[in-house]
Symmetry: C2
Subunit: 350 residues, 2 copies
């Protein structure tokens, strides 16, 4: 199913990196003095095969979905909040709205299925798969068709973004209980213990944490006989939004769009994307390390260091949108700075 | 001299912090989930005594000056680069120009005295104190009048910014050999060993580093009998731009302007500002930790954690300008997000 997920991806070539680095070294600054910004610019220039890397055309997607596992009281907030926050995204009152507006980023919410039905709302597209996943303590979260539909919605959304000229995509998520889903996914994929990966989410207390860990442990046992592949694991524990994020990262890489990854949930989706199609990793930039304890572990598994460590734990693409201007700075510096020759500035002493 | 430096500063009041925190807690997100952004917003709201913290009116100053100590070959770049870079700032080709333009920040260069005379240049103001400081290996870098003039230029510039409505000021520096000056300043003020504070600057090799450390050690000995106060130390080893930065941070705090501190040189100036008038610290936000080895130490001395760690070492306010949109995000989120009540979003379960 979904054969497209493993189709080839253009990856970084040494020759392209060297050419971009050569250009960086002509700019009026001591070599290497822009630090991380230089690596970002060189990477994007090499991926885009240009001397003028660009991320000006950028968009934000928020995939929203409900989770059956919320029935087990694993979240500090009631499940109604998923739908309420979708309304808040539409009305412009959420954090991601403020950040998108600040940076001039178009924001689209993609409703993949909530327990509450919502009226038509500005900036919200309905691609309803089901009114939330099933409770994965007893059932597989999704059936085959639902997983494929989540992938396909994402594939179509990314292709639409590409045809709009999108150079960088920020994808985020909203779904009460999705840190439980994400933690179960990591444990099943990587063999970590739930108490190492599960975190407080939106704000559990100690008892809440113990309960969350116990639910994940029981769920892992109940599904033990069908966790052989990343897709089986996604089907067992995933949310529609996490499956869509996984497909988004892969399709972005296939289409030549840089993806800026948000926090814990998004990084788990990125890990699945990398396990399914490893070459997509070159196209991912990790924006921040969140306060959710499992996030650090997931970033370590992938061997990546995110740009920011701001102790955020909000989701909804907020960390990625916050970091966006830093990526833009890297590209603008690479493109717009004068060279030693053009500015008539003396170079380093021999 | 310069009695104004120790005049009182409005500092943070607990009542103002609590009021700002109360507002943060009404916003549609789990409490604390914006992490560092919440503390920034709360701090600025409390300093500005408003529910609507703002940093939209922001400016960039670059103080440029030459250093007599450059005669001792302590820099990887020739001294001519100070003037050449001032021309590059004026022409728009330097990193700070690109970043200022990205964020719509007016950029002003203040020429405090270079070895080369420069023609009149766009966006460059001349406030020449002398054609550079004296070589502090043998002489005090500045006389009394020169130090006072550096302070007064900064005082006037900040007052002008205030009358322009400036809410946040980014100050930076350009001056070949100024990491040597800054390192000597820290060692004299805090008693650290030069090899712990001195770094590679624009790119010294191992021999260059040994030589730089030896020059600082010898200079510290030569001035040992007049290093009793921060002002004496500034006069002995300072650059005009470092003295101006010190005065800038103090005057910003006195005038109610938030100052975003750049890298090593600026943090050393901030340390002097805090030693001269400790209450100014509340008004300083530290933007990044640079690759210059002494910077980490200086930040530790002040007990502050900067926003970014990007391994930059360029100066010219580049790290502060890079971080500016993050501060702006913090303020906009505090001001523009919906509350649970206004957006009709359910709060956390009891």
């Amino acid at each position: 199913m979904s054969q497209w997920l493993t189709k080839p991806i253009n990856t970084l070539l040494d020759a392209d990196i060297q050419q971009a680095q050569k250009h960086q070294n002509l700019l009026t600054k001591p070599q290497g003095s822009l630090g991380v910004l230089e690596s970002i610019a060189v990477t994007i220039a090499a991926l885009q095969k240009t001397q003028y890397p660009r991320v000006d055309q950028a968009q934000v997607f928020i995939y929203a979905a409900d989770h059956g596992i919320a029935q087990e009281n694993v979240s500090a907030f009631p499940q109604a909040v998923t739908a309420e926050m979708v309304k808040n995204f539409s009305a412009g009152g959420a954090a991601i709205c403020v950040l998108s507006h600040q940076h001039g980023l178009p924001l689209q919410v993609i409703n993949l299925g909530l327990v509450s039905e919502l009226p038509d709302l500005m900036a919200v597209e309905k691609h309803i798969i089901a009114p939330g996943t099933k409770n994965f303590l007893q059932h597989q979260a999704m059936n085959d068709e639902q997983l494929i539909k989540a992938f396909d919605v994402a594939k179509n959304k990314v292709e639409q973004a590409k045809s709009d000229g999108c150079e960088l995509l920020i994808a985020g998520e909203m779904g009460i209980a999705n840190t439980t889903s994400a933690a179960a996914l990591v444990c099943a994929l990587e063999g970590n213990a739930p108490e190492v990966i599960a975190g407080v989410g939106t704000g559990l207390d100690d008892n809440g944490m113990k309960h969350k860990v116990a639910i994940i442990e029981a769920s892992l046992k109940n599904h033990a006989n069908h966790l052989a592949t990343p897709l089986e694991i996604l089907q067992s524990f995933g949310g529609f939004e996490i499956a869509a994020l996984t497909a988004t990262y892969i399709r972005c890489a296939q289409q030549g769009i840089v993806a800026l990854v948000d926090g814990f949930i998004c990084s788990v989706a990125a890990l699945f994307a990398v396990r399914i199609n490893p070459q997509c990793k070159a196209w991912l930039i990790f924006s921040h390390q969140s306060a959710e304890q499992g996030h650090k572990k997931v970033l370590e598994i992938m061997g990546v260091k995110p740009l920011l460590e701001f102790n955020m734990r909000l989701g909804e693409a907020s960390g990625a949108a916050l970091a966006y201007p830093l990526i833009r700075s890297a590209c603008l510096l690479h493109t717009d700075m004068a060279s030693f020759a053009s500015a008539d500035v003396s170079e380093k002493l021999a």
